[in-house]
């Protein structure tokens, strides 16, 4: 009992000394906190992991990471890393916003990076993406690939962010094929809408029954059901966040990729160079933050005409010739 007490005090003293030392020196020791899906979710978190690996390969600086199994663990993860002197601490996902806010307040000397969220604090860098621009491009491809001129969208939970995906996609469709019919469905109004692949598949089948032959899923693991249903019926599907083309070669038209890996790499890299700045960054096509995926898995599905058209649209968006309307700017969608 007594020995245990002494050991605990000694450990505490060591911890204090360590934090004091680290606070003074602040070496770059990045830590990464994955989203709910976990490290290899074939989506968001996996992109963060790739960014972390790239940073390690480029600089030789090792990193630590954390996978949560409950949302309540986010704060514990951040606190744990911050108290061990980790810096910067990089997380991905809107649902980490509150945890980052609280821990950033408690550790003003530590730098935090939140990808896909928005916090205004002097030690936090928030990175968001122009999903509407990437969605516009895949919408152009969908409209050109469709033979029935009916194109579908399956969203996850009905939140403004997902409406932004749908809105950009719809604009892309109308840009390439003004007469096309655009059907959109949201999976639900609760967080379960992200984790219900069976319902996603059912929504996709219903859209196929109505004549849709290209469907875009922006719905977390619910989207896996959509992609599977498309593969089962031989219809085309579009993936989201990471490049999901490899999942069903032959029916995956493309994926709308958010370069979470680039954001994760850049944030850590900036810290090593001493150029890290807090604030709010929105990465669009111009910055390489979003894009459409073109690789050996979907090469056969994308004709030269489609590629030319989508490259043109991309150049026009970058130059400002095409303005993609952002749903969240006014809560409305205009095609």
């Amino acid at each position: 009992m007594k020995r245990g007490g002494i050991r605990r005090i000694a450990a505490l003293a060591c911890a204090f000394a360590a934090t004091a030392f680290l606070a003074a020196g602040r070496p770059v020791a990045p830590a990464y906190v994955y989203a709910m899906g976990g490290k290899f979710d074939r989506s968001f978190s996996e992109a963060l992991y790739r960014g972390a690996e790239r940073f390690k390969a480029a600089t030789g600086i090792p990193y630590v990471d954390f996978e949560v199994s409950r949302e309540t663990q986010f704060e514990q993860a951040y606190r744990h890393f911050a108290s061990r002197g980790r810096n910067p601490i990089i997380g991905v996902g809107f649902s980490q916003t509150d945890a980052v806010k609280r821990v950033a307040r408690a550790f003003p000397g530590t730098k935090f990076v939140l990808i896909d969220g928005n916090i205004h604090m002097p030690n936090v860098l928030s990175v968001e993406f122009r999903e509407e621009e990437g969605s516009f491009l895949v919408g152009v491809l969908a409209a050109m690939a469709s033979k029935t001129h009916k194109i579908g969208f399956v969203g996850g939970m009905d939140v403004p962010l997902i409406r932004r995906f749908a809105c950009g996609y719809g604009q892309g469709i109308k840009y390439a094929d003004p007469k096309a019919t655009f059907l959109q469905n949201m999976t639900g109004a609760t967080p379960e809408a992200w984790t219900n692949p069976a319902r996603g598949a059912e929504i996709a089948r219903e859209q196929f029954d109505r004549g849709v032959d290209v469907v875009y899923a922006a719905a977390g693991t619910t989207g896996m059901g959509v992609l599977q249903a498309a593969a089962d019926r031989g219809k085309l599907a579009i993936g989201v966040d990471s490049n999901q083309n490899y999942m069903h070669p032959g029916t995956m038209l493309t994926s709308m990729v958010k370069r979470v890996d680039v954001a994760a790499f850049d944030a850590a890299q900036a810290e090593t160079k001493g150029t890290w700045k807090p604030g709010h960054v929105v990465l669009g096509l111009k910055d390489g933050g979003v894009d459409w995926a073109y690789d050996r898995y979907n090469k056969k599905l994308v004709t030269p005409a489609m590629k030319a058209k989508v490259d043109q649209a991309k150049a026009d968006i970058i130059s400002g010739k095409i303005k993609v309307h952002d749903y969240e700017s006014d809560g409305r969608c205009v095609y």
Partner: protein
């Protein structure tokens, strides 16, 4: 006209696909609750079975081994529930909730530890799944008006577990109303003392009912993971076990009543998917309103039209000998 028929048939086919896991869970519940064991744990057992079947199917490439694994795991969880509720006379609600939490946590832990895919299992090849079966004659009948599309798209073209489910509803209704085992089972839910006095083991009957319930939820989970989808993913049962429980009450603890309640819920869900984004005049139907419909209807119908739903008299009451 032809298009309208096709749309209606597609709607009904969707209803059947959505209702299948609900029906299986509800039939499991019919057995368990008629024997006097309340089962909140339908959801958890279904989830655990989904994980087990997806794991085994991906490891062996056989949907049949997947189905076996799903049933075994669900039965094992049923035994845990049985031990807590029948042998140790614990609170049945608490035990059921524990089963749900256990399944939710354990499936995640194993999935992450074994596959490192954020709680998913690897995608299955078509050979490792139950795929839609095309019944004989669906091609040749296709030209016949009405019968053709109904046969080709509603009756034919479903997956094996769907057909199995329909057969199991008949079996459940027949067992409970016509067989000695079924009558005893219901007696044990109504008057366990009388059954005991007749020299029949109350615990034995209840264990059998709970095991049958496990088997049914096992098929439900397997259907979710390897027929409807091609892998397991986190919380993929998405509350369907609870909806099945509502259907069970809605159907007054009777096999056919519960079956039609599940079909109604499935139908409402299928309609909800189709109604989304539809405009009535200038008014766009909001997602949330449509999603709330099954629940609203349950409350309204139960309160106004169906009348009182009475549970088996000793449902949820542990049996103690010689009071």
């Amino acid at each position: 006209m032809e298009d309208a028929i096709f749309q209606i048939v597609a709607l009904l086919a969707g209803t059947l696909r959505i209702a299948t896991p609900l029906i299986l869970c509800a039939m499991g519940g019919v057995f368990s609750e008629n024997a006097g064991v309340v089962d909140i744990g339908l959801e958890g057992k279904m989830l655990a079975a989904a994980f087990a079947s997806a794991t085994v199917a991906s490891a062996t490439g056989s949907p049949w081994l997947g189905l076996t694994a799903g049933i075994l795991v669900a039965c094992a969880m049923s035994l845990v529930h049985g031990a807590a509720c029948i042998t140790y006379r614990g609170n049945q609600i608490v035990s059921g909730v524990a089963i749900n939490i256990l399944a939710s946590g354990l499936t995640m832990v194993f999935a992450v530890a074994w596959f490192h895919m954020g709680g998913q299992t690897p995608g299955l090849d078509n050979a490792a799944r139950f795929l839609p079966i095309s019944l004989p004659g669906s091609e040749s009948l296709a030209g016949v008006p009405l019968i053709g599309p109904v046969y080709a798209n509603l009756i034919s073209g479903q997956t094996l577990p769907v057909y199995l489910t329909i057969a199991l509803v008949f079996l459940t209704a027949w067992t409970l109303s016509k067989t000695r085992f079924g009558l005893r089972l219901r007696a044990v839910g109504e008057e366990p003392k009388a059954v005991d006095a007749a020299g029949i083991s109350v615990a034995g009957l209840r264990y059998r009912a709970v095991l049958i319930c496990g088997g049914f939820t096992g098929i439900a989970g397997t259907y979710l993971a390897i027929a409807q989808n091609a892998n397991f993913s986190r919380e993929m049962s998405a509350g369907q076990g609870y909806i099945a429980l509502a259907a069970l009450i809605f159907g007054k603890w009777k096999a056919w009543g519960a079956f039609w309640a599940c079909i109604l819920f499935g139908f409402l869900d299928a309609v909800a998917i189709r109604l989304q984004g539809v405009h009535i005049g200038a008014f766009a139907v909001p997602t949330q309103a449509i999603q709330a419909m099954p629940y609203l209807l349950t409350v309204l119908l139960l309160a106004g039209f169906i009348g009182k739903a009475t549970a088996p008299k000793n449902d949820g009451v542990p049996y103690e000998k010689g009071e």
